[in-house]
């Protein structure tokens, strides 16, 4: 069997070689799945690592898309270097504000409050005529990096787009891994596992969680920015809570205690949707039932099948999530 450290390299090589083996449709499809994987990994920073079950990450995702749409000058491409940071910062800031309020509550309350504030963001774009109201708006040209009129990078090329998304995906994985191995990451996990103990040791639990929540929102924004650039379109539904819940399903499928698990979850769920859509008109019914089945049969996600496939691992980061209700500290 392959040594463990080789696995990511092989996967990376496959991902990098992919555009040369499959049609443009699939390159775009995988690109979309990667973007959703980024969103799911961002969400899992809050849910799995921070213990904050948030149902408003679609709002951060969609908001960044709107920032791109609003900053795009008509039919000309927007500057990536300018708009991406603004979009991520906007999402991070809104996450900070929503988190600051929602983190005053715990458990089921937190879920309800995030859901409600997420819907507030939805209505903000749905009921007002910012960027097309309920119809949404087009982003006519994909963002680019240009210096003095020279295009260095043009996202309109599917190949360039794919590699940029792949690079950001890797950056997200690296960033989250570094963060979770740092003192901050351990403090976050400690607060999740036993809030009272973390606090009485001297950890400022509220601030730690809020920071993680805002970072998670900003990464979700980066994902949303590229999703919008890829579709060339943004609509209020992109902020809606059905998307938030769907991403939560990806997180659960991938497993709560890992960095890359949610990426796997995203690939699995999006692949599954594709198969279901192709095979039945009632694919949502099937998907709903499958989600129910997964929740009931695999509390730790498909990851719990991995030891069966790859052999047991003793990695501290993947120690199984504790499922009983007492694990809900937020």
């Amino acid at each position: 069997m392959m040594p463990r450290w080789l696995v990511p390299l092989v996967l990376l090589a496959i991902a990098a070689a992919l555009p040369f083996g499959v049609s443009t449709y699939y390159v775009q499809f995988i690109g979309k799945a990667f973007i959703m994987g980024m969103l799911a990994m961002a969400l899992n920073l809050a849910v799995g690592h921070g213990g904050m079950v948030s149902i408003c990450h679609a709002a951060f995702f969609g908001l960044a898309g709107y920032v791109l749409a609003l900053m795009s000058p008509g039919y000309d491409p927007a500057s990536l270097v300018l708009t991406l940071p603004v979009a991520a910062a906007a999402s991070g800031f809104v996450a900070l504000v929503i988190g600051a309020l929602a983190l005053r509550t715990r458990g089921a309350y937190f879920i309800m409050v995030t859901l409600a504030f997420g819907e507030m963001m939805f209505f903000l774009f749905h009921d007002t005529d910012i960027a097309g109201g309920s119809d949404g708006t087009y982003v006519n040209a994909k963002p680019e990096i240009a210096i003095a009129g020279h295009r260095l990078l043009d996202l309109a090329s599917p190949l360039a787009f794919y590699y940029v998304v792949l690079a950001l995906l890797i950056a997200t994985i690296v960033l989250l891994t570094v963060l979770l191995r740092s003192p901050f990451g351990h403090a976050l996990a400690a607060a999740r596992d036993n809030e009272r103990r973390a606090r009485s040791l001297g950890f400022p639990v509220y601030r730690i969680r809020l920071t993680a929540f805002a970072i998670s929102g900003a990464i979700a924004g980066v994902a949303g920015y590229f999703a919008t650039a890829q579709f060339g379109f943004v609509a209020p539904e992109m902020l809606g809570w059905h998307l938030s819940a769907t991403v939560l399903v990806m997180v659960l499928i991938g497993g709560l205690r890992s960095v890359t698990g949610p990426l796997v979850g995203a690939l699995v769920l999006i692949g599954l949707e594709e198969v279901l859509k192709a095979s039945t008109d009632y694919w949502k019914l099937a998907e709903g039932l499958i989600v129910i089945l997964i929740v009931l049969s695999m509390p730790n996600g498909v990851r719990q099948l991995w030891p069966l496939i790859f052999g047991a691992t003793g990695d501290a980061a993947t120690r199984p999530a504790r499922v009983p209700a007492e694990a809900n500290h937020v």
């Binding site: 191995r181 351990h186 103990r197 606090r199 009485s200 040791l201 400022p204």
Partner: protein, 252 residues
């Protein structure tokens, strides 16, 4: 008289109509073990929760040295030098012994929330954690997941975590509860050694341990202090004998 590390004045705490703590004042001195005893439901744990900030008092004042900490959140109090162990063991059950204590040491490090660099890279934190583990007698058990420890070992672990935060005031709520004889003896010796340079407040039902450890004794009953002072005086106090110690006080 020795320096007062923690001073609470006229604390009140009500739960609905129940006065769990009423008009309680305690001073905890550096270099002393101050024991609080009293029957079940006397308000001892509530008092500790008030001191540690887990509960806010309805009335009264708490001073940590010269600083008024009455309205300070528990994490701020902890960083100001207050460490506590709970009556019901409160640790990180999914983390190893080493990780538990390292987290505690990290909490007092200036880099406690640094976002880069592995947790293991801070030598000072590692050293403080190792020292605390050795001091409570858990050396050799570092790699064990905390929830797999015996009950007694978990109590030891919690004390190690408190020690690793290098507190100036230590609050211990029934540290011996559920411990075997041998384990208890070790912990009693450990607690006795803690008061070097620190103030220790301990709630304990084991009278032998209390009289072995305490430099000062406060007796609570129904949320009130009914006696406080040197142990030998307090045990002779008629109200105490009537309310709590009964015959036990005579032959302890």
């Amino acid at each position: 008289m020795s320096e007062v590390a923690l001073s609470a004045t006229a604390l009140d705490k009500h739960f609905g109509g129940l006065r769990a703590v009423s008009g309680v004042s305690v001073d905890v001195h550096v270099g002393e073990v101050h024991a609080v005893i009293g029957p079940n439901g006397a308000g001892k744990s509530t008092l500790i929760n008030l001191l540690s900030g887990e509960l806010f008092a309805n009335a009264g004042r708490i001073m940590l040295g010269d600083a008024d900490i009455t309205r300070l959140a528990p994490d701020r109090r902890a960083r100001a030098g207050l460490g506590r162990a709970y009556q019901k063991t409160t640790i990180f059950p999914k983390f190893t012994v080493h990780e538990n204590v390292r987290l505690a040491a990290q909490a007092r490090s200036p880099h406690r929330l640094r976002m880069f660099g592995g947790v293991g890279s801070d030598a000072a934190v590692r050293a403080r954690a190792a020292e605390a583990i050795a001091r409570v007698g858990l050396a050799g058990r570092e790699a064990v997941i905390a929830e797999a420890l015996s009950h007694g070992e978990q109590r030891q672990l919690e004390i190690a975590m408190v020690l690793a935060t290098d507190p100036r005031i230590v609050l211990l709520d029934e540290p011996l509860a559920g411990m075997g004889q041998a384990e208890a003896r070790g912990i009693i010796a450990l607690i006795a050694s803690l008061k070097q340079g620190r103030a220790v407040l301990i709630v304990e039902h084991d009278m032998d341990a209390v009289f072995a450890l305490a430099d000062r004794l406060t007796v609570m009953h129904d949320g009130r202090v009914i006696a406080s002072g040197p142990p030998q005086e307090v045990r002779m106090h008629p109200a105490v004998r009537a309310a709590y110690l009964g015959d036990h006080g005579a032959d302890a």
